[in-house]
């Protein structure tokens, strides 16, 4: 199982703070493709037009990183703290 968290502007635009997937994709790239396939705001936000970041188990991750079993994956806009 995979938990996905969304933060900040992405959470607001997607209308979703968290969700779970019963059958997790193998990599971040696969996960993003699955989300983009939903179309609409999912495609608009994650389909290439806008920049976003991904963390796996609270560590910054890249598109080709594998998603381990039971992972917490977070998807969020570039950070703006400080």
């Amino acid at each position: 199982m995979l938990t996905i968290l969304y933060f900040a502007r992405l959470r607001d635009v997607l209308g979703c703070a968290s969700e779970t997937l019963a059958t997790p994709p193998a990599t971040v790239r696969d996960l993003i493709a699955l989300l983009v396939a939903r179309g609409g705001v999912w495609q608009a936000e994650l389909g290439g037009a806008r920049v976003f970041r991904v963390a796996i188990n609270q560590e910054m991750a890249q598109l080709d990183d594998a998603i381990p079993a039971g992972a917490e994956v977070a998807i969020f806009p570039p950070v703006t703290g400080g």
Binding site: A8, Q58, P77, T80, G81, G82
Partner: protein
């Protein structure tokens, strides 16, 4: 002895208190403190507040890694990072970064390094609440460039 303080909190912080913990340590020749504050540069005081959101499970871990990376580059006697979250009014404090070292160049450079990475690698997001509505702050290319300086 490593003296690191890393905190994420909604309450305000007291710069004097954080500085005071270095009292009486004769190996510390230089202390640099950076305070970032809620700024409103508009002529009409348009900004009501900032809302600072973060990713709690990740934030302190990211800050810990950041401090360890700075310690790997420089000889530091003490590091403090305090970052606030929640609703903050104009002129309120957002972040404190304190670095203490035998040498001033080290204290300056480590401090700037920590701020440059904090701005690009720690999971905080700002939303502006103005008289015109609410809007998430967009990341700035200049912050990415500032971080990139340290990676050459």
């Amino acid at each position: 002895m490593q003296q690191d303080v890393i905190r994420v909190q909604s309450a305000d912080f007291d710069v004097a208190h954080e500085y005071q913990r270095l009292a009486g340590q004769p190996q510390i020749g230089a202390v640099v403190m950076f305070v970032g504050r809620v700024r409103d540069l508009s002529a009409n005081a348009d900004l009501h507040a900032l809302h600072l959101e973060h990713y709690p499970a990740m934030t302190e871990r990211a800050l810990q890694q950041l401090v360890q990376a700075a310690r790997a580059r420089w000889q530091l006697d003490a590091v403090t990072i305090i970052h606030r979250v929640g609703r903050l009014a104009p002129a309120e404090q957002i972040v404190l970064v304190l670095t203490a070292s035998p040498h001033r160049d080290t204290a300056y450079e480590a401090n700037r390094y920590l701020m440059d990475y904090l701005k690009t690698a720690a999971p905080f997001w700002k939303k502006e609440i103005t008289r015109h509505g609410e809007a998430w702050v967009e990341a700035r290319a200049s912050d990415e460039q500032a971080r990139a300086r340290w990676e050459t």
